[in-house]
Every structure is written in C-alpha cells, then in structure tokens.
C-alpha cells in the first residue's frame, strides 16, 4: 500500500508536466501584415501549372468543373494545412478582408501559423518514419515530430532536412532527426538495414523497392542485388553510448537464400552513379545521391506527396510508388500493362517534373510549393458538376478536372469538431482548457475513428463504427452540449434572431450559409421553439450538421 502515498506526488508531477507541455510552445501573436504577405513571384509558376491542366483537359476532352466560392477554398486550406475547419473568428475576418489576393494572403498567413507546422509535420512524418511509437528508450517519435515542425516553421530547404535524417549522427534525444534511423532499430537485432533502405527510397524517392529485398520486383525492374547495394549504405551504422555513429570497420553481409553463403556487399546505387560522391561516410554519400539536383525522383516524390496532402489524393497513386521519370526510364523488363494511366502523351510535359523543377529552382521551399498548388486551377474547382455519368466523372477525378471528394482523416474530424465547439480560433493563444482537451481527447478519437496510419492517402469510404461514433460518441455529446461557454450555448443565447442563429451554426460547422431549402425547413421549427428550448434546437442542429456527409468529407 506504500505506493498510495506516492500518488499525490505523481498526480502533481503529471499536472506540472502537462501544463508545461501545453504552455512551452512559444506564444506568437496573430500573423501580422508583414509576415502574411505571400511569396511574390508565384504568378509564373501558377501559370505553368494552369497551362498544364488546360492542355490536359483539352486533350482528354474534359470540361472542368466551375470555379468554387472562396469560403469553400478557405475550408480546404485550413483542413489541409491545420487539420481543422476555419473558426467563426477567421471566417468573419476573411469576409471583411476586401484587399486584393485575399486567398493568397490568407494561405501565407496559415503557413506561418504554428498549427500548420505541427499538423503538417505529423503528415510528413508518417511517410518518413511511419506511425509506430516504437521502443521509447531508443526511439523518440515525439522528438522527431518537434524537430520536423520546427523545420517547417523556419521553412528550411527540404533537401537539408533529408540529408540530416539520412546522414545524422548523435543521440535521438539531442539530435531528433536521427530518429529516422532509430525507427529502423530493432532491439536485439540492431539496425535493420533493409528496412532503412526501403523506407528511404519510398519516402524520399517515391519508389517501392522493398520487395526486391527478397526477390526481384514482380512487375517493376528492381533487382535484388540493387537493393542490397542500397542497404549497404546503412551497413556501417552503429549504436554507441553517444548515439548513432558510423563504424568504418563494419562489413555489410548478405546471405544468399539458396546457398546460404554469406558475401560482403559494397554500397552501390541502382541508377545515377555519377550523383554519388566518392567522399564522406556511406550515409553522407547516400544522402548526397538522394538529394542530388539531377535526381528527379527526389523532387517528384515530395511534390506528389504534398499534392496528396492538399487534395486528399496524390497526383499519382499510391503516393510512394511513382513510375520512373519520363526520359529516365531504367532499362529492364516491365510486364505488360505496367504503363501508368497518368503517363504523358506526346508533346505534353509531366506535372511532377514541372512542379518539381519549380520547387528546385525556388530554393526547395515547401511553403512556396504549397502556395503554388493551392492557387492553381485544380484546387479552385467545384467538387460538384452537372455531369452524372460515373465513367466521365471518374475521368474528371483522374485528371483533377473536378475537386475530389475525400474522407477527412480522423485528426481533421476531431480538429473540426473541437473548433466548431468554440467561436474563437483554437490555437497556441487559446485558453489552456481548450488546448488541454484537444491534446488529450484527440488521440483516443483518432484511434476509435480508425487511424489509417501510413496509408492515409488511400481512397476510402466511410465505415459503420465511424457513423456510430459520430452519432452517439461521448465526445460528440460533450461538444454539442449547449452550455454557457460552448459555441452552441452562445449561439442559442446570444444570436439576435432565428435567421442569424441558423446561419451561425452553419458557418461554424460547415463554413457556409444555409440554402433556401434548408432555411425553409429549419426556420419554422426554430420560430416555434420556446426561448428556453433553443439550446436543444441548436444541439440537434449541431448533431445534424456533424453527421452530414458534408462535414465528414473534404469537398
């Protein structure tokens, strides 16, 4: 029973830790005019993307969907960059902003918001290290995330991050980027070179070479020995008391599966030998090769991933299995039918090359890449259309002639639910309690809603447990409760009239105003509702809006 004496102390410690955790992030003022100015030379890049799509749509004989209203774009942007719908506070400010280039300026502003750094870091981390928490002692995913979000916040050039992840040395606590390597460390078995090589190629070059670990790729050209050569770059990794380091005496041996003979494999790359420098450690050489400006796979991979994170669907799917860059196909037998549906037609450019080159030529800035994509035509299209023919719609979707409907990730659902329970923006400046709830409740909700892990860009439909959770879950109940300080409570009491009351609920939950039909349905009910029962009406309406497909899907 002695442990019980310790309990108050433990609780106290936990509280201190939590409070310091939520408060230790630097508080930053709302982005000022100065910081929210968009990058200046975007126009030319946006034009290039637009002409690509005009040509593609014309060539495919597709009429793109209409241009969508700006409030809908605002919702897409906050969902993609920060994992939440815009707050009422933000909607009001946005609508009052009558200056030119409103969307670009607001994009720039969100890209400087701490919420972007944290949310986007998690998205990218899933590609880099997966979702497993791993062994706490030798792997700290949380530190890796913090590091990555700091890099996003300072807008560091992307290749620098990748080089540090691959070639970094040191302790996973002091040098958080080495957690990329520690994620490939198995207790008892040491570093898993194969896992690291497979991961590096998938995450940074967007190609799946993993299966060549045991056999030649079934329908691509990768050979087993090519994989071994790549894996050998991680062959001198060693864990020491001072963390990760290279041990130049280590040999990388591979066992032949047939003869069971072991042979030493020297580091080698499967293509672009000239990009690999002769100097440096094995990992430094690999990092230089991966990020070499002529290695188009590198820029194409990140462009495809960022495209996917913004639209909910990558340009080429799956996000990390890209075909070889056009004109750089590696000779080798490809099975029949391996030609990619997105392959270029004669005279066309390739979208990933186009955006990739633009990204490279402008200092590999992730922020700029995002600004270009969200300002280009496909991002600004309606998700609806008069066309009802599934086959044609499918082709429109394929070529982004219509904004794709994608299921919101669990983090986006919970982020939006919590944001909709408040009229002001929940960010670093929010009340401790709101942030505390966000921190503690999110993980449980994400797990129960069904975390998609690394494959979060897969095209998915809804599920029954999700519907049950949205309809009957505890968190939903608490969120819509019309209490004095919740959004629903404030709307039910403070709104001057019923029409405003209805409009506010719609703006907060769906980022739009009710249609005429919806007003015609709800207003008479609301007018008949006695003032003291208005809270219940608003709760019911909140429930309805949360459970609508419009809330749970990006559109």
């Amino acid at each position: 029973m002695r442990w019980k004496l310790l309990l108050p102390g433990v609780v106290l410690l936990a509280v201190v830790w939590l409070v310091s955790f939520v408060t230790n992030q630097p508080l930053k003022g709302v982005a000022t005019e100065e910081t929210s100015r968009p990058t200046t030379d975007l126009d030319e890049s946006i034009q290039k993307v637009n002409s690509f799509f005009m040509q593609r749509w014309a060539g495919e004989d597709l009429q793109p969907a209409k241009k969508v209203d700006e409030l809908s774009v605002l919702r897409r942007i906050t969902l993609a960059l920060m994992g939440t719908v815009p707050s009422l506070e933000e909607i009001r400010a946005f609508e009052q902003d009558s200056g030119p280039d409103r969307l670009s300026r607001w994009t720039a502003r969100f890209l400087r918001d701490r919420r972007y750094a944290e949310y986007f870091a998690e998205r990218l981390a899933r590609g880099f290290v997966g979702v497993e928490g791993g062994q706490f002692i030798v792997y700290r995913r949380d530190r890796f995330l913090n590091w990555l979000s700091e890099q996003l916040e300072t807008n560091r050039p992307y290749p620098e991050l990748v080089r540090e992840m691959i070639a970094g040395d040191g302790l996973w606590t002091d040098e958080p980027e080495v957690n990329f390597l520690m994620a490939g460390y198995d207790d008892g078995e040491g570093f898993n070179n194969n896992k690291l090589a497979g991961r590096a190629v998938r995450a940074f070059l967007g190609q799946r070479i993993d299966c060549a670990q045991c056999h030649d790729h079934p329908f691509d050209h990768w050979k087993q020995h090519e994989f071994a050569g790549l894996a050998a770059h991680f062959g001198q990794l060693k864990l020491s008391p001072v963390g990760v380091r290279e041990d130049h005496d280590l040999k990388f041996e591979v066992e032949d599966r047939n003869t069971l003979e072991k042979k030493v494999v020297e580091p080698a790359v499967p293509f672009g030998e000239k990009w690999e420098p002769a100097d440096g450690t094995r990992r430094e050489r690999l990092a230089a090769w991966v990020t070499h400006p002529e290695n188009r796979r590198f820029e194409r991979a990140i462009v495809n991933r960022v495209w996917g994170l913004l639209f909910g669907r990558s340009w080429i799917e799956p996000v990390d299995d890209l075909p070889d860059p056009p004109g750089d196909e590696i000779a080798g037998p490809k099975v029949e039918g391996a030609k990619h549906p997105k392959a270029m037609k004669p005279g066309e450019s390739d979208l990933l090359d186009l955006l990739g080159a633009d990204f490279r030529e402008h200092g590999y800035e992730l922020r700029r890449l995002i600004e270009v994509i969200v300002a280009s035509k496909p991002f600004l299209l309606e998700s609806k259309s008069d066309i009802d023919d599934p086959a044609r719609l499918d082709r429109m979707k394929q070529h982004f002639a219509i904004f794709p409907l994608t299921r919101l990730r669990p983090e986006q659902i919970i982020g939006s639910l919590l944001q909709a329970s408040s009229l002001t923006t929940i960010d670093q400046n929010s009340h401790l309690i709101s942030r505390f709830i966000k921190l503690t409740r999110s993980n449980d909700f994400v797990k129960e809603y069904g975390d998609l892990g690394e494959n979060e860009l897969e095209d998915r439909a809804g599920t029954i447990p999700q519907a049950l959770l949205r309809m009957n879950g505890n968190l939903i109940g608490e969120t819509i409760d019309a209490k004095p300080f919740t959004a629903s409570g404030r709307i039910s009491q403070m709104a001057p009239d019923d029409a405003t009351r209805l409009e506010l609920c719609y703006l907060v939950c769906l980022t739009r105003r009710p249609t005429a039909e919806e007003s015609a349905f709800f207003l008479p009910v609301l007018e008949e509702t006695r003032p003291q029962r208005r809270g219940l009406f608003v709760e019911d309406l909140y429930w309805t809006l949360f459970n609508s497909p419009e809330f749970a899907w990006n559109h």
């Binding site: 409907l405 129960e448 349905f521 809006l545």
Partner: protein, 439 residues
C-alpha cells in the same frame, strides 16, 4: 433449457413432431433457442441446407503446436507436456485439453502447416488473408471474402464480426472497409456508441433534418456522394442500433448450464456469442484469445491459456453439433505461427512458422483426419535446435484457405480487380481434396 428443443428431438424418437413445429413452439414460449427478431425460416434451416458460416478461433501470439495438438512427450523437444488419448483412435493431443479430446473427432487436425512469416504482424497477415504482406495492396481476410461473396439481406447487423481485443483484426482490404470485421471488444458487455444520446422524438427530428442537409450536399454530387457510402453506413448503423438481432451478443440470455460449459471468461463468452451470431445469420466471426507469445515460461503460459481454450472450444463444437449447425459452420482454430521445437533458456519457445498445427472442420468438410507430421524424435540436442527439416506432408497456408473458401461456397480462384486495377485471386492455393467430403 435449450437442450430440450435440440434437434435430436426431430430424430426417430419423435416422428410426430416436425422440427418446424418445435421451433415455433420454442419461439412462442420465449425459449432461448430462437433469437428474437430472427426470421423463423432462417433460424429453422439447419443441417447442410443452411447457408454456410465461418468461425475463426484466433490464437493470437502463436500457440505452440507441442502444447496443443501435436505433443511429443518424452523427446528432447517435448518438454514436460504429456499427451492424452482422444475420441479419435490413434490421435493424442496435449493433456491440457481433456474436453477438446472428447470433441476433436468432429474436426480435422493439420500438423504440418508451413509459412514463411515469423513476425507477428506479417504472420497474422499471412494467416488471416492467405497472402504474404505486399506493400502495394491489402488482401481481404477470409471472413471479409465470405461476407462479400455470400451476402445475407435479412441481416441487420454486420455480417463480419471480430470479438475481443486484437491488434490486427480481420480486414476487408481491397474489398473495402465496409467488409472490415466489426469489432466488439467485450461480448456480453455491450457495444460502444450504440445508444442514441437523445430520446426517440429528438432522434427522429435529427434524422429528418439530416435528410435535408444531406440533400443539399448531394446536389451536383450524386455519384460522388454515393461512393462515399456515407448514407449507407449511417443507415446500417441506425438499423443496427435498433435491431433485435443484436441480442445475439447478449450471452446472458443463455441458460447458465450453457454459459458454464463455455467457461466464465471473456473468451468463453466470445465463443458463445460467436455461436449465437452465426445462428442469427452472421457470415463470419473471429474470436481472439491473446496471450500465446510464450518466449518465456512456455509451459505454465500454455497451461493458463488452455484453461480458457479447452472448455470454450469443446463447448462450441458440442453446441454447434447439438443444434445441427456444425454441418453449416466451418470452424478454424489457428494463430499466426507455431513455436520452436527448441526450448530456450527461459523455458520458452520462440516463433516457428515451419511446421505448426491448426484445427479445421465442420461446414461439411470431412472429419477425423490427421494430416501431416512433424519431426518426432530429434536424436541430438543439435537436431532439436536446428530442426531445419520441414514437416512431413507439408500444407501451405493458401491451400488451406482455398479449401475453406470452396467449402463455404465461394469461388476461391475468382479473379477480382483491386482498386489500382491489378487482378487478384481470392486465394492463390489449391483445395486440399482429402478434406472435402466426396460428393
């Protein structure tokens, strides 16, 4: 009391009472035999006329073949585990399973399963889908395929269900998440998020409003919104919330004799719920018993495990047989792999995919077959540690899966297109003819 209306009564001793009448009587008198809300016809169908179902008893962590269905007492690899005789002449199993020994002749024993996956996650994938993990797609599990291919429109609850907590429940894979096993973590203690938060009046008002709001969103997005399955999942969730069929998981309605037979453990309740679910028309149920990963103290670990598995599995087979449901219910008792013949210094056994056991039977399969044999007598310590020699008459996992699918009435080698347009067979194996009853 359910025994009094067991199907035996329709046998030669009671020629005047048809099974149908008995069922009607049982239904009217509120006996537990017929589940509430169940279509009488569906419940009544028994024997091999009945549409087939699948129950997978999942031994999570990898049970030792040597401490279950393939003991080698008195050998270097056998450890302290003893064997007992079973109802099937010539077959001996570990003495931890006296009750299963009484029932095992209804099923078949395979002692020579081979796989190449020795990692929990990869092994689970292999033994739930019949395919090795592939980074480019996710294969559907057996239960998902069965639910996909053998729909039951009378059913108001999910047709693929996973009982008890498991890290990697059976998935729908490329058939879609709608075929993922619906997870019930604690059968007998309700399902999460199943109760509406408001009274019926308000709930109806909310749903009416939901129709209006959904309609505005569908304008111009009919096809896209249909593809989201949003409406369908909400409807199914609602149907389930109010369905009487959910009583199938309320095992407390069973007579205490039955409940005690299965064992008063979460796993026992899970197996009982599995029987009730199958009876209701659910196509595939997976019941998980974790705790088999005995890298240390293998023998005491398996003793503890057997205390749960032995009564539950034996009662399940007996109960299915009693109710004339065994001929239509395929039972598979399996895990991700077996455990090493070599006993490690911690008295444990490690992962071993190269020769392990499973039980399979019912659903019209033949019974009482023992297939395959593992190394019985390694002569030396070295043999025991190496044991690289595979089992005699090895059975590949895909072949077992092809057998099960075909027996369920699924075209096991049907090619379906994955979402990225890659043709893929439900099973890449060939049915094991020996297990199929000659027709």
């Amino acid at each position: 009391m359910s025994k009094s209306v067991s199907t035996n009564s329709a046998g030669p001793n009671s020629p005047l009472v048809s099974r149908r009448d008995l069922l009607k009587a049982a239904f009217a008198s509120g006996l537990s035999f017929t589940l509430p809300g169940l279509d009488l016809r569906a419940a009544e169908t028994r024997g091999d006329e009945r549409q087939k179902s699948l129950i997978v008893i999942w031994l999570g962590g990898g049970a030792s073949q040597l401490e279950t269905w393939d003991p080698h007492p008195g050998t270097l690899i056998g450890g302290p585990t003893k064997s007992i005789k079973t109802k099937l002449p010539g077959l001996e199993i570990a003495d931890l399973y006296p009750r299963v020994a009484e029932q095992i002749h209804e099923l078949n024993v395979i002692r020579s399963l081979v796989s190449k996956e020795g990692d929990h996650e990869r092994g689970t994938y292999m033994l739930k889908t019949g395919y090795r993990p592939d980074p480019t797609l996710i294969h559907p599990s057996l239960g998902a395929i069965a639910s996909h291919e053998l729909p039951n429109d009378k059913l108001e609850i999910p047709s693929h269900i996973s009982l008890l907590d498991t890290q990697w429940p059976a998935r729908g894979g490329f058939l879609g998440e709608i075929f993922d096993a619906f997870k019930i973590y604690d059968p007998g203690n309700g399902i999460r998020n199943l109760k509406a938060r408001v009274g019926d009046d308000r709930q109806q008002q909310r749903l009416k409003a939901l129709d209006v709001v959904s309609k505005s969103f569908q304008a111009g997005r009919r096809v896209q919104v249909e593809n989201t399955l949003h409406q369908l999942t909400v409807e199914r969730a609602l149907r389930m919330m109010t369905s009487e069929q959910l009583k199938a998981i309320e095992v407390e309605h069973e007579p205490s004799v039955i409940r005690e037979a299965y064992g008063d453990t979460p796993f026992g309740r899970g197996c009982l719920a599995a029987r009730r679910l199958v009876e209701t028309g659910v196509r595939a149920v997976e019941v998980t018993l974790m705790g088999w990963d005995t890298h240390a103290n293998n023998f005491t670990g398996h003793e503890t495990q057997a205390k749960q598995l032995d009564p539950a599995l034996a009662a399940l087979i007996h109960d299915l047989k009693q109710r004339d449901l065994l001929a239509s219910t395929l039972v598979l008792c399996i895990g991700e792999f077996g455990r090493t013949p070599k006993i490690n210094p911690l008295e444990g056994r490690d992962h071993w995919p190269k020769g392990f056991s499973c039980l399979v039977g019912g659903g019209g399969l033949r019974s009482s077959l023992v297939i395959g044999e593992t190394d019985t007598e390694p002569q030396t310590e070295q043999d025991a540690s190496k044991s690289s020699k595979g089992p005699h008459d090895p059975i590949e996992v895909p072949d077992l899966f092809a057998t099960i699918l075909r027996q369920l009435g699924v075209e096991f080698d049907k090619e379906v297109l994955t979402p990225i347009g890659r043709p893929m067979k439900f099973s890449s194996g060939k049915p094991i003819e020996r297990l199929m009853a000659s027709t």
